[in-house]
Structures are given as C-alpha cells and as structure tokens.
C-alpha cells in the first residue's frame, strides 16, 4: 500500500527548522523518517510545496508601511491610546477597524512597537548615552518640578501701608507727577467717549445676533415637527429621489447597519438643488428598549448632529428609525451615523451606518 505524509506530519516538518534540535530521540527519529519519505515521494514534495506557498502568501498579508487613509479611519492619535491600553468606550470598534484596515492596522503595530518594553542592545546603548540618563540631569529636573510646585500655591499677601506713606505722597515732585497723571486721565476720557460709541454699535450687533438666533430656533422647531411627522409614518422610504411634501423637498435614503470596507460599497445620498430636508431611514435587526441616541459624524470625526429619542410603536413594528436633517448640514462628504443605547455608564454604541453625500 502506498502511504503518504498526513497534514500533521507536514505540519511538524514545516515547524522543524533545518538546524533545530528535536526535544527527544523519538521525535528526532520520527522527523528523520518523515524527511526520508519526503525525499523519495514526489506527491508529498508537491503537497509540502503547496503548504510552504500558503505560508508565504499568509506572510505577504503584512504591510510594512501604512496604506492609504480611508474615509472611515479615525484620527491617528487614537492609536496611541489603544496601544497604551487606555480604556475607551469605542475600544472594541477601533480594534475591529484596525484588523480590517491597511492604514490603521500598521499604525497600531508601529505604536505598539514603540511602546514595547524590551530594548535592543543599540537602543540600550543610546538611552545610556543620553544626558537625561545621568543622575545630575534627573536631579536638576526634579528641582525644577519641585520649584514649580512650590510656586503654585503662593498668593502675594496684601502689603501693609503706613500713614507716613500718605505724607510722602504730598512731596512736590510727586505733585508734579500727579499733574501729568491728570492730563493723561483727560486723554483717557476722550478715548472713553469713543469706546462708548463702539459699545453702542456692539449692542446693536448683539440685538441682530439675537434676531438671527430666533430665526434659527424657528427653523429648528420646523425640523422637529417634520421629524415627528416622519416618525408617525410607518412606511420607510426606499429611494434616494427627492420627495415633495407640501412645499418642502425631501431627499431620502435607506441604510443597513455595518462597516463599509470599500468606497464602492458606500450608499450615496444625492441632494438635488432646492432640497430642504434629508430623511435617512435606519434599518435594524432589533430595536433595543429605552432611550437611544443618534450621532451624525463626518469622516474627520466631527459630530454634526446629535439627538436622543425613544422609538415609537410604529418604528418598533418596522424595526427602523428615521433621522430627519436639514440639508445645509450635509455638505458633500462621507458620514457615519452611530446609534447608541443607554447603558449604566452612559451611552453604548450598537449600530453604525455609513453613507456619502453628493450634490
């Protein structure tokens, strides 16, 4: 019967380095037998080569340098916190992202390497050579920090003024100085008038700002009304074409949760000219109980919109939520909508939606 190496035996041959010393005589004999079989068997040689190629291909997955930054990549400083083991609410999401991203994964690796405790002999030598490694330097810095600490709580005590001070103030040269001072004060009065005029203008501008704030408030109320109306409607929109509601133009989009790996997969919200409102329907597998929060975040990590809500019965039936936004905040960009639910320590993220706005 023609017997061949099985996968475990191939595995052991692959793990055994040519110059390595097997632990036991029995193991050494076993490996020698396997090698001898391999030398004479073309089938097993072919299988061995295929396994070696698979190892090489897995090894080639590693990138030495970070790739191109994507629209969903967080700011680079984030990886310093993750690598340092500093707990963040979004630690799990960040880890998942780093595992799938050719830009952030290598950045995390580099930072982790910077934080590793083991030093190479070269690093050891360079650190020993530093001035900051000398006791003298460290003592000087300690004194500097200590002095800073001493200075902090010190508040100057009020100075004691004796009656003699008043008499000395009446000396002739002091009177001359006083005269000059009065002259300066007169000039100051003239400036004061100018300041009073500018203050009046300032007041006028403040009034205008208040007026504008009221207009914004009115607009916000209209948006809130539209949000409420859209929640009452149980049928989610399915197209990204603008709809007309009375005289209000609405662009709509339906999104499913999950991270988007490529630009091609991004759903697009086209906002035609004249559109006032964007209605984004978020589909969910299950709608959690309690208070929810919707955050609209740009690719740069800027939060553009936040609202807290309790889903209505109709939303629970359809397992979907609607986000109604004024289009002026949706400038062309890539966005993420983050849904969070209330948890004991604050809000906890449970779904993420990504999309792109085009005009």
């Amino acid at each position: 019967m023609n017997l061949h190496l099985n996968n475990d035996q191939i595995d052991e041959l692959l793990q055994a380095t040519p110059g390595g010393k097997p632990n036991a005589d029995e193991n050494r004999k076993y490996l020698e037998d396997a090698r001898r079989h391999l030398e004479g068997c073309t089938d097993c040689q072919m299988r061995m080569r295929a396994h070696e190629q698979a190892i090489d291909r897995l090894g080639s997955l590693k990138l030495n340098m970070p790739g191109v930054k994507g629209p969903m990549c967080p700011p680079e400083d984030v990886w310093v916190d993750v690598a340092a083991g500093i707990f963040r609410q979004d630690s799990n999401d960040l880890r998942t992202h780093a595992a799938q991203c050719d830009h952030c994964g290598p950045l995390l690796r580099q930072t982790k390497e910077d934080f590793a405790h083991d030093l190479t002999p070269e690093e050891e030598r360079r650190i020993t050579d530093l001035s900051s490694s000398t006791t003298d330097w460290q003592e000087r810095l300690a004194v500097k920090i200590h002095d800073t600490q001493n200075l902090l709580p010190l508040v100057s005590p009020p100075k004691y003024r004796s009656p003699l001070l008043l008499r000395s103030l009446l000396a002739p040269w002091r009177l001359a100085f006083g005269g000059a001072l009065i002259g300066l004060i007169m000039l100051g009065v003239r400036d004061y008038r100018r300041i009073a005029y500018l203050s009046a203008q300032n007041l006028e501008a403040t009034a205008q700002i208040r007026h504008l704030e009221q207009s914004v408030l009115q607009q916000s109320t209209q948006i809130a009304q539209l949000t409420a109306e859209s929640r009452r409607s149980s049928t989610p929109a399915t197209a990204s074409e603008p709809q007309t509601t009375g005289n209000v133009q609405i662009a709509s989009l339906v999104l499913d949760p999950g991270l988007t790996r490529g630009i091609g997969e991004l759903k697009r919200l086209a906002v035609p000219r004249g559109t006032d409102i964007a209605k984004i329907t978020l589909r969910l597998e299950e709608l959690p109980d309690g208070l929810l929060r919707e955050d609209l975040v740009t690719a740069d990590g800027e939060t553009k919109w936040t609202q807290e809500l309790r889903p209505s019965e109709s939303q629970r039936k359809t397992n979907s939520l609607s986000l109604v936004l004024p289009v002026y905040i949706l400038t062309p960009n890539d966005y993420q909508i983050v849904l969070s639910r209330q948890a004991p320590g604050g809000f906890e993220r449970f779904a993420t939606y990504t999309f792109r706005v085009t005009r």
């Binding site: 590693k62 500093i86 998942t96 799938q100 050719d102 982790k112 590793a116 530093l130 900051s132 920090i145």
Partner: protein, 227 residues
C-alpha cells in the same frame, strides 16, 4: 532620609501630587526615565530626528507635561492601577514626540504655502494606490483568505478569533501586543494558540485545492511508511 526606591508607583504618584519634597520627584524622574526615553527614542527615530539633544528635550517636555496644570494628571491617577498610569505616561510621551515633529514639518513646509503644479501634471499611481497591480493582487489574496477563514472560525468567539487572525497577519501585531489590547481578554499564550490553530487549518485549505482530484485519488491513505 527616607528611601523612596521601594515604594509602589501608586504610592509615589500619590505622594508626588500631595507633598513638596524634591527627593520624591527625583525618584519619580528616575523611575520613569527608561520608559519615557524608550518611547521618545523610538518615536523620534521613526519620525526623523533622534539626535541626543532632541530626545533629551522631548523627555524633559514629557515630564513637564505630566506635571502641567497644577499636577492634574497625577492627581487624577492617584486612585488608579499602576498599569493605567504607565499606559498614560507612554501615551503622553508619544504625543509629545508626535506633536513636536508635526509642528516642525509644518514649519519646514510653510503653513499656507501652495506649491505650483503644471496644468498637465498627472500623478503616477503608487504601488499602494487603489487600482495598482500590487493592490489588486492583495485584494484578491485578502478575499481568498477571507473565504477560507470563514470556514475555519466557528463558535461563540468567532468574531474575536477572526479579529485576532487579521491583527496578527494583516496588521502585523505580535501575539503579545494583541493580548495587551483593551478588551481582548486573553493571555499571550491564549492568543498564540488561536493563531496556531487557525493558521494550520487555513494553510491546509489554501494548499489542498492546488492538488488535483487525480492526485488525491492517487495519493491513497495518509500516514507514511517508516524507513
């Protein structure tokens, strides 16, 4: 004189924040010197200038940053675990170095300065850019590995195990570095064992399709004959 070399990091941090003793600060500087110097030296080497002067200056800046704002950082860490403080010191050191090089690059390039480009300038696609032969090849490989990987991970921890696999092979993190990440909840040995198990199964799946059906039939039962 009291010796501070034997007190714990938590105690040292607590006492430094509360008392005005320069000897405590000497111990603090001495204790964290190696850690801060390591992070600064590596970050500076990677970002360009790791001269003695620059590294010493950045080390000093890190200490001053830790003491800034009336020792707020030290006070906030009084009640926390040692590892948390060490992690924070690392993060402060790395950010000090990165901010320094970011600022110096901005100065060199000139803020607000726009370089002139010819109208017919067409940038060449680099190897890393989407659409280059290398990146297409890479995308195909990732897709192939993903398909095999789906068959190799199962059970309640499949999501975590899949992440560990990619962090190891794609991001290039060591098993120890993965185990150290917040939320992984495994020892280095645990991570190594997951990687070994998945790699073995994945390698077999990647290698076997290369052998034709004819070869499989010809090969017969496995288990070689000893010499």
């Amino acid at each position: 004189m009291e010796s501070y070399s034997s007190i714990s990091i938590e105690e040292l941090v607590r006492r430094c924040a509360a008392s005005q003793n320069s000897e405590l600060w000497e111990e603090f500087v001495r204790r964290f010197q190696r850690l801060i110097a390591t992070v600064i030296l590596r970050t500076a080497s990677r970002l360009g200038d790791s001269s003695k002067q620059t590294v010493d200056d950045l080390i000093q800046e890190t200490y001053l940053k830790l003491c800034a704002d009336d020792f707020r950082i030290l006070r906030s860490f009084e009640q926390q675990h040692t590892d948390a403080f060490i992690g924070y010191v690392k993060a402060v050191a790395a950010n000090v170095a990165r901010d320094h090089f970011k600022a110096s690059y901005t100065q060199k390039r000139g803020a607000g300065h726009v370089e002139h480009l010819d109208d017919d300038f067409v940038p060449a696609a680099s190897d890393a850019s989407a659409g280059s032969p290398k990146s297409i090849e890479r995308a195909v490989l990732i897709q192939e590995v993903t398909q095999h990987l789906e068959l190799c991970v199962a059970g309640p921890d499949q999501e975590r195990n899949r992440e560990i696999f990619w962090l190891y092979y794609r991001a290039g993190l060591s098993a120890r570095a993965i185990a150290d990440l917040p939320g992984v909840g495994l020892t280095t040995k645990g991570v190594e064992s997951i990687i070994l198990r998945i790699t073995k199964e994945l390698r077999e799946r990647m290698a076997e399709p290369k052998l034709g059906v004819r070869d499989q039939v010809r090969r017969g039962p496995e288990g070689f004959l000893p010499a």
